[in-house]
């Protein structure tokens, strides 16, 4: 425990860096998944292909991906860009399915009614389909958020800044407290941000309050649905 108190500045710094590296990929993945998921839902043929590719991509081990990406894109392995791009890709692979499933869960009757009362395609998407798909999107985003925060520690082995460095350093210098601190902070960060996301969801979708539309169990299961064709 002494190690933790005497190095609290170092740990705090790593935590803040970790936060800064994990949040952008989640936001990027969400934004990029919307059009892809929309297209996958809109064009039936595309759906199978997009979801199969996403499923297969998600199977790529993160550590290997972080080594291969720089060879493709030209960044340094140890750069933050490498980690952010890698995490964003994983986020997209997970999120695309949630977007496609969420949009699919909107009843055809509802879509037609929206068109009938005069919504344009664009308005209908943002004001009818997205809100109704909201709970599914939120469930997907929660999985992306939590796994991104946890995955970001993989960068540490390659020397990318963040909480992952605590694992490396702790192993090399035989400081168990350092590794435990890294694990605990990663989990706490994931839980806190997940909680904030749930609160945000309630604020944005007041109609879902009271019934638990999002279940923590969904994710693993959602992942299994990838059951590629």
């Amino acid at each position: 425990m002494n190690w933790i108190w005497s190095n609290s500045d170092y740990i705090l710094d790593k935590t803040i860096v970790h936060l800064g590296l994990s949040v952008p990929p989640v936001i990027l993945a969400f934004v990029i998944s919307l059009p892809i998921g929309w297209a996958a839902n809109r064009f039936t043929r595309l759906r199978g292909v997009v979801l199969a590719v996403a499923g297969l991509f998600y199977a790529v081990p993160s550590f290997a991906l972080l080594v291969v990406l720089p060879g493709l894109i030209g960044y340094s392995i140890r750069s933050n860009t490498n980690l952010i791009i890698g995490l964003t890709l994983y986020g997209i692979a997970l999120m695309v399915r949630s977007v496609a499933d969420g949009l699919q869960s909107v009843e055809a009757d509802v879509r037609q009614s929206a068109t009938a009362v005069g919504y344009s395609g664009w308005q209908r998407f943002w004001r009818v389909e997205i809100p109704l798909a909201g709970p599914v999107l939120l469930a997907g985003l929660r999985v992306v958020l939590v796994s991104t925060i946890s995955l970001a520690t993989v960068g540490g082995i390659l020397g990318i800044n963040g909480l992952g460095l605590l694992f490396n350093d702790g192993l090399q210098r035989d400081i168990m407290a350092e590794i435990v601190a890294g694990i605990v902070l990663t989990i706490v960060m994931a839980l806190v941000l997940d909680g904030l996301l749930v609160l945000l969801g309630r604020a944005l979708m007041p109609w879902t309050r009271g019934r638990s539309a999002t279940r923590t169990g969904t994710p693993t299961v959602a992942r299994q649905k990838v059951v590629a064709p």
Partner: protein
């Protein structure tokens, strides 16, 4: 793309294809660790998952466990165990099993849960005992989802096994870390390519197995990609069994 050509050339070099440090040996180690970990995890988690799925008890706990496991940083767990247990394969193996359990557990109980209640009621109505319901109805119908869980677990272990080398246990990560330490990007890339190939190959094998284990007459487990809306929001549903006539 020269970097990749170099990596493939590295892989094709006969010097890297034999001996204790050759690609086949490392690949074998990697695959062996994966199989052992997944088998141990399945032995522990499948009966537990079936029990949860059949009785419906402990579901909240199982959901929390499988959800919470996602936040657990795998690298941290492997390194922590290495400090506790010592260098060698024991520490990473414990970590692999711990990491594989949640997916297998989820696959087992969600497979049971996805079975339509009407089907179970029908089984009971025709006089099946509780044990028969489990072995003749729930297990076969839940199989595709169980395989899905085992598949997730396998991929998780394949990915995590790349860092086993850091704690002295070999595997395909050996090349990646040796390359990392000596700034030999070619070797790193070569190792990563083999790991990715292994993961993708396993993914494909599992998706085929998953289709094969679907009981005749049931359309479950088929990619529900073109299905109608989910019957139970969020639950698993490969929309099994509602349409027995198909």
């Amino acid at each position: 793309m020269n970097l990749f050509l170099d990596a493939f050339a590295w892989l094709a070099d006969p010097a890297h294809l034999s001996g204790a440090d050759g690609v086949p040996t490392r690949l074998g180690e990697h695959l062996w660790y994966t199989i052992v970990a997944v088998v141990i995890a399945s032995v522990l988690a499948v009966p537990a998952g079936y029990l949860i799925g059949h009785t419906g008890r402990g579901r909240t706990l199982a959901v929390a466990l499988t959800g919470g496991a996602r936040a657990l940083p795998t690298v941290g767990l492997v390194f922590l165990l290495a400090l506790l247990v010592g260098i060698g394969i024991t520490a990473p193996m414990i970590a692999f099993v711990v990491l594989a359990i949640p997916s297998v557990l989820a696959g087992a109980y969600s497979g049971f849960e996805a079975v339509d209640r009407k089907t179970i009621d029908a089984a009971r109505a025709v006089g099946m005992t509780e044990w028969q319901i489990v072995t003749k109805v729930e297990v076969p119908l839940g199989l595709p989802l169980l395989i899905g869980g085992i598949r997730s677990a396998t991929l998780q272990v394949v990915a995590t096994a790349t860092i086993a080398t850091v704690v002295g246990a070999g595997g395909l990560g050996t090349y990646i870390f040796r390359g990392l330490r000596s700034n030999d990007y070619t070797q790193m890339l070569a190792g990563s390519i083999v790991v990715i190939a292994l993961a993708v190959a396993l993914e494909v094998v599992f998706s085929i197995v998953q289709r094969l284990v679907v009981p005749a007459g049931v359309t479950a487990g088929r990619p529900s990609d073109t299905r109608s809306k989910a019957a139970r929001p969020g639950a698993v549903t490969a929309t099994p069994l509602t349409k027995g006539t198909q």
